[in-house]
Amino acid sequence: MPIEFKNVSHTYYPGTPFEYQALRGIDLVIKDQSFTAIVGHTGSGKSTLVQHINALLKPDSGEVRVNDYVINHKSKIKNIKSLRKLAGMVFQFPEYQLFEETIFKDIAFGPKNFGLEGKELEERVLKAIKLVGLDETYLEKSPFDISGGQKRRVAIAGILAMEPEILILDEPTAGLDPQGAKEMMNLFAEIHRQGKTIIMISHEMDYVLEYCDEVVVLKKGLVAAQDKPINIFSKAELLKGLHITPPAIIDFANRLIANKLPIDIKKVFDIESLISEIVRVKGGNK
């Protein structure tokens, strides 16, 4: 089942001097089993949008549908816990939410709250820690004694152990070094291959191009565009208006096209494909 937003608006602190309308009537369908990127300027409403999916926030007007759940202004969601198990949310810098004495207990915290126990719980935790690329020797360590990058993995394992069908990621690679970020993205690609829906807020357009199959661009609380990454990134004019810097490779290809080199942007997704396009066009000219 897809995730549907119908005319969703959300205002923070209504009726105070701090009033701020973050979403202004969002209409959006996020396809089932897609790897969707949510991009946009800081303050465009990205985080507010995704927090509606597991009902951390409710719309002031309009409604959100996630499987059988309907989230709107009035509804009191009967089984909010199972919605939150269905749509797992990884916040920005999730390492700050670690708190247990051992990594095992911390990863187990989520699934335990959702009623899992005993052998099954243990297996879940073991599976999750392996999935994020750490081994079981970590399980008895304190989550405060490991490096920053490892903490982030443990925090993500804590959400994966809930086995959500939808995984929501808020800038999961922020602050990681290139290798750490790459490993993290490969992990999400693997989870996506297992048939889960992944929704990722990101400023890293290189990753959006490489990993995602759909991009939603937000601007001032509205959906400004939704399409395949390459279709969005190849429109240099559109990007400028949205304050988005395209991936370096696409930016470069766009510049070549602007200088009348007739390469096919749809065939460019990394350095190798760009070079072969350049060689094809230049070779043809000679």
């Binding site: 602190y13 105070t16 001097p17 701090f18 927090q51 597991n54 951390l56 909010i80 816990k81 939150r84 198990k85 797992g88 949310m89 916040f91 999730p94 700050y96 939410q97 670690l98 708190f99 915290f109 989520g110 335990k112 709250n113 959702f114 405060f144 804590g158 959400i159 809930m162």
Partner: protein, 276 residues
């Protein structure tokens, strides 16, 4: 952001512009006046003064009423105790061999008026004065104690840093609540044991983060040459202007009038005659 009491609201009014020391001193003087044994007329006078201050300072009545919220229960409790204990004045009514006297009602009313005035005046101060300016004012009043090696400056610095980080920590708490709610914490309808577990999942990360913040902040302060014992100059200087002098004089007059007239009831009586 629903901490109503004490939130600075940046309107532009003469009261906003007063020196925080003036405002603090005036508040203390008015509070002293309120706690004298006053009669109905003096209270009426002070209520009028208070209403005038609210109007001048552009503070919303709604935010003052919000500040009263935690008081309702206490006031009710007070009324019950007074009715049970105080047996002065005229008997008003009797329920099942228990008599309620007018003294009890008056006494309660007096306390309620005092409290209401107190809260209103304090709210006016905190809504019109930046917390940091208040800190400077407190530091200034405490500065004579420096002779006794009382670390007034360090205390003021600590308070101002705490004030600076309240919004940050508040934001972080909200984020953590959401993050742990996403992991199934239910602080509203869960079992007691789950609720306690949920609280731990908030408090531990908050402490960890606060400690880390304070460490990084200390590094940043040291790197910019802060040395607790050393002499420093000041960017913010408190500015005592003519309006402050006028303000203090008006305040002194109000306090004097209410206290003086409480010892000389004939003044009020003259007023009553004049009114008739």
């Amino acid at each position: 952001m629903n901490i109503a009491l004490g939130r600075y609201i940046p309107y532009d009014s003469i009261i906003h512009r007063l020196d925080p020391r003036t405002k603090l001193l005036a508040l203390i003087a008015l509070l002293v006046a309120i706690f004298f044994k006053l009669s109905f007329w003096e209270y009426a006078f002070l209520i009028v003064v208070c209403l005038a201050l609210i109007l001048i300072s552009k503070v919303k009545f709604r935010s003052i009423l919000q500040a009263f919220k935690p008081m309702w229960l206490m006031m009710l409790f007070l009324l019950i105790i007074n009715v049970l204990v105080i047996k002065r004045g005229d008997a008003l009514f009797t329920i099942a061999s228990f008599t309620c006297y007018s003294g009890a009602i008056f006494q309660t009313l007096q306390i309620i008026i005092r409290l209401a005035l107190m809260i209103s005046l304090t709210t006016i101060l905190t809504s019109t004065t930046k917390p940091l300016d208040l800190t400077y004012a407190i530091e200034w009043f405490l500065s004579p104690l420096r002779v006794l090696r009382f670390p007034t400056h360090e205390i003021a610095m600590t308070i101002s840093l705490a004030l600076r980080f309240i919004p940050t920590l508040f934001e972080e708490t909200q984020k953590l609540i959401k993050a742990q709610a996403s992991r199934g914490v239910d602080l509203q309808s869960g079992k007691l044991k789950e609720k306690i577990g949920g609280l731990v999942s908030l408090i531990v990360p908050l402490f960890v983060s606060a400690f880390q913040k304070s460490e990084e902040l200390a590094d940043a302060m040291e790197a910019r040459g802060y040395n607790p014992g050393a002499k420093r100059t000041r960017y913010r200087k408190l500015d005592f202007a003519i309006r402050d002098l006028v303000g203090l004089l008006v305040c002194a007059l109000i306090v004097f009038l209410s206290i003086y007239s409480s010892y000389h009831p004939e003044i009020v009586r003259t007023l009553e005659i004049w009114k008739n």
